[in-house]
Amino acid sequence: MMRVTRQAIRPDLLRAELFDPAAGAYAAFEGWVRNENEGHEVLRLEYEAYEPLAVKEGEKIIAEARARWPVRHAACVHRHGLLEIGECAVWVGVSAAHRDAAFHACRYIIDQVKIRLPIWKKEHYADGNSGWVSCERCAAHGGTR
């Protein structure tokens, strides 16, 4: 399940969708908006997403993870719009019988989401400037990290 939304992400509700009596392990990842990037004080982040393709590509990534590791359920939600420091920009959750599969699938999904989804972010700095985060920096440093 992949969703791209302007609504606040609710990890507590999303987690409940992955419950399964055969699942002994649950691994989750969240990307939070942080207050600093490469020495610049960041005030907020503006995410732009092309929803139809972001959803399609996200579903593909989740299917790849399911094919590689024996997981029960896997899901990802990416938010867009204007986000404040501390807000959740992306959530990934995976339930599985065993923890090894849950951890690996969770890591795979967030790593791929960050480099493949048509989503962009603009940082708004304390000095009044703003700038789009580019892929080269992104590849080396991550976004919400």
Binding site: G31, E48, Y50, P52, L53, K114, R116, W120, K121, C138
Partner: protein, 81 residues
């Protein structure tokens, strides 16, 4: 032979082009041709390898063919998460 192509711009490309989308009549066989045709318009020196392109909502390679009436989406380097 010129084709009618709708080009859509995103993020930094959209800001530099000053528009979300435009209809162009251009000579173009591939997605790459479309990008090169508008490169000045979106004022980027970004290498193609860092950008992505979709034709009619399918992510494709830069060699993908474009046909008359297609919509080409030009994506600057992505940065999700």
């Amino acid at each position: 032979m010129s084709k009618q192509i709708t080009v859509r711009y995103f993020a930094a490309f959209r800001e530099r082009a000053g528009t979300d989308a435009e209809n162009l009549r251009i000579e173009a066989d591939t997605a790459r041709d479309v990008f090169e045709r508008v490169r000045d318009r979106i004022g980027t020196a970004e290498p193609l390898a860092h950008c992505k392109v979709a034709v009619n909502d399918e992510l494709v390679g830069w060699d993908a063919r474009v046909e008359d009436g297609d919509t080409v989406l030009l994506f600057p380097p992505v940065a999700g998460g």
